[in-house]
Symmetry: C2
Subunit: 477 residues, 2 copies
């Protein structure tokens, strides 16, 4: 008999036909009703057992977490809550789960407890729903770009340059850990390392993606990136996945259009394909928020919030406009901001971004045309000589979800900028050559994938939306 997933089984017309199914026991009620789940869906199939037909040993092994193979007949359900159920004829126990020692019992576990059990937490409803959504979102990303003429590009993970300066890096080495070879000057001799030079884990694939955009036109990366920052917050991971589209012949305005269309498209995809998981997570969030004071609860339920983003235009605001709004805002005047906004040029903090998005505009916001001084060297300088064509997409509850820019395509301007910042030209000779040969207007952005998953699942801690989180002092599993 062909194997069939529970997801498929639940939409099969019941005709008392023979079916065979594998899965894990969620619950076993009254020695009669097994709720079986195989991970294909949040929903269980009810398997009805006449316990008198089975030996005691089998019945005793039917505990939460046990893996079973069940054969029986698929019939219209006699009870409420499901359309079909299985009248069980045979049970084979693949593997038991001793209720005394199996940690994932049918009760509420704290998220902190489950982080310690990252190898088992995907067996809970919450984490299976999150991880199915994560998978659907990842596919929606590929689907969007491939439908729109982008080519997927694998940026290198091990890199010989720290040019972007986006943050602290992890060193990658095979040199002797304790007594590395030294040069005559007494420095570590990286010429003897695996790659013949000092290498690190990438913080961004952007610069390489630019090289590919100048050949293939429109490309995107989707791969792991790394920051060795000692940030133990609910928003930071040392290892996370990033999506970085890069497009030749795109200016900043087209870049904003793309970012907005892209985000809406992937949200539309999960609204359409992941209804059951979203409903489950929406209810989870409502239950969680019931324990909070009214003022801290979300104004919208999860699915409503996603629909709101899909259905409304993102508000586009220049940095200069944003500074005006912030300067004249109540919290600024009442000195409620930790970092008061005094003058143009100030870097925006999370509190400012949240004020703009959650209090002032009450919708996703794209801030653009930032002061050059607070942005990266590769961003296109505007004609005013003091702002660059940078953009950040800010989301309620999440803050910055996308950061991007039009890139500086003029060789001399880029060289000047690098000189001002003390970046050696020989470090980035190849990046400069992109401007020497057939340079053109181009743009791109980066989207932190886990922040998107946070937004879609309504979870509060980024450690709960990646299978095995890497954070300071933690690389378990």
């Amino acid at each position: 008999m062909a194997q069939i997933s529970i997801q498929q089984l639940l939409v099969t017309e019941p005709k008392s036909q023979d079916v065979e199914v594998n899965g894990w026991v969620k619950t076993f009620r009254s020695n009669r009703f097994i709720a079986l789940n195989d991970g294909s869906t949040i929903n269980n199939i009810q398997c009805v057992v006449d316990f008198e037909n089975f030996d005691e040993k089998t019945i005793k092994a039917i505990n939460t977490g046990a893996a079973l193979n069940i054969k029986g007949k698929l019939i219209e359900s006699q009870g409420k809550g499901q359309d079909v159920e299985i009248v069980v004829e045979e049970i084979y126990v693949h593997g038991a789960a001793d209720p005394e020692s199996y940690p994932i019992q049918p009760k509420k576990h704290s998220l902190e407890f489950l982080r310690e059990k990252a190898h088992l937490r995907v067996r809970t409803n919450t984490f299976s729903a999150i991880m199915r959504l994560r998978s659907a979102l990842a596919f929606a990303v590929h689907d969007y770009f491939q439908r729109n003429g982008f080519y997927y590009f694998h940026a290198p993970i091990i890199t010989g340059s720290d040019a972007e300066g986006a943050g602290e890096m992890f060193r990658v080495t095979t040199l002797d850990e304790k007594n590395p070879p030294l040069t005559e000057e007494g420095r570590v001799n990286y010429k003897e390392d695996f790659f013949g030079k000092e290498t690190n884990l990438t913080v961004s694939g952007q610069l390489e993606a630019e090289a590919y955009a100048m050949g293939l036109g429109k490309v995107y990366t989707f791969g792991p990136t790394f920051r060795a920052e000692n940030s133990n917050t609910s928003r930071h991971l040392a290892e996370f996945w990033m999506i970085e589209p890069e497009m030749a012949f795109y200016d900043l305005s087209m870049n904003m259009d793309l970012a907005e269309d892209f985000i809406k498209s992937v949200l539309r995809y999960v609204l359409e394909h992941c209804k059951d998981d979203l409903k489950f997570l929406e209810k989870r969030l409502l239950d969680e928020e019931k324990t909070k004071p009214q003022a801290e609860r979300s104004e919208m339920a999860l699915i409503e919030k996603l629909r709101f983003v899909v259905d409304n235009n993102f508000k586009r605001v220049t940095y200069t406009e944003a500074i005006d709004i912030l300067r004249n805002s109540k919290p600024n005047k009442k000195k409620k901001f930790e970092y008061p906004i005094d003058e143009w040029g100030a870097d925006l903090q999370s509190e400012h971004e949240r004020f703009l998005v959650e209090k002032h505009f009450k919708c996703p916001v794209i801030l653009f045309d930032y002061p050059a001084k607070i942005k990266a060297f590769y961003m296109r300088l505007n004609e005013d000589g003091k702002t660059v064509r940078a953009m950040d997409v800010l989301f309620p509850g999440i803050g910055e979800i996308v950061g991007g820019s039009q890139r500086e395509e003029r060789l001399e301007v880029l060289q000047q900028k690098m000189a001002d910042l003390g970046i050696e030209e020989e470090e980035l000779w190849w990046y400069l050559e992109l401007r020497k040969f057939g340079t053109a207007v181009h743009s791109g952005f980066g989207l932190g994938f886990e922040r998107l998953v946070l937004f879609v699942t309504g979870m509060g801690n980024i450690r709960d939306v990646i299978p095995f989180p890497r954070t300071p002092q933690n690389a378990s599993f």
Copy 2:
């Protein structure tokens, strides 16, 4: 005017309508015919210029590699070789490419030369075709698994264990490079490192994927993996992308079915979606092989070879049968093998695999049921007590493209195997727990993505099918 890609333009009905297009000059013939390409396709659009209408400076800037914006009318082509062309009305030069210094001139460059110019080589026909195919293959992988009920799972890249023992690893660290902190015993004190322990780059996501398969049922990884082996061959990279599906309730036979169906499906996808690029690479390969003696040329052209794999069953052969065939083979009797096959238990070398695939069976082969001694500890022991449910898929010209197995799901057997090999249980406590709680038959395999790209593109060196290859002494760009 909306931007349109050259791929779209080439299939647009010409009605003398206004069009605008961006791209790079491939060639400029007779001061009249610009072949323009934007990376969206291997094909160029012909732009016809009446040079008397343009100033000399513009005409002089139209060199190979220059980036142009062209406005004009789309008409039925007057010449041969294309259906439509543009009568040029306006030209804007985004960026010139000085023919004296731009390295990618319209002539044949060696692959070795282009590896030194990895930031520019995607502007050539060969590499743009390879990289578009790579992108299509990657999407075909996601598409196949998502259509078949698999969930995409991101295995961790930084790992705290070297349990699989699949090869030498790269160390990931933020400790002082020259004077790392030491313990009282004089060893490097990894407790002070970023993760509080020694960490490395992953060699495989399999063990973590098993944990996820035991919750979500069917999962797959597609991410970078690393080997710090000093292998300077045309088949090895230090950083490469691997696809690893892992399925609960699958035995070895289902695993073989999946591997075969999966490979055929992704090949079918590119045969359908990448005709022009495949035709270009087929011709490239034919031209290349013309320089070789007849005996070294391929028996099939590229597309024919892909169709052959799609249309024929992979031959399934036990290791034991394979040893018999090899022992009695001509090259073995005539002592032509570097490693003669004497007895059962010998590890198969590349020369043996190629004999089986290319000379004996002349089709893809799945070898299975290998001696336990030459395979990894986690593979399911057969009832004979000496073989394991391992499988390798062998491809002509490529060798092993897939390696997989049914996994040992019995706790005691796995513990015994680990004890025999000296693997500490506390290193893999969580992996063992998968066998303690709801264990079940499960299987999976790994496919080296670059080997698949090699096969599909007909290229001979793995450095030419990944954007920025990482090999010993090379981490440029």
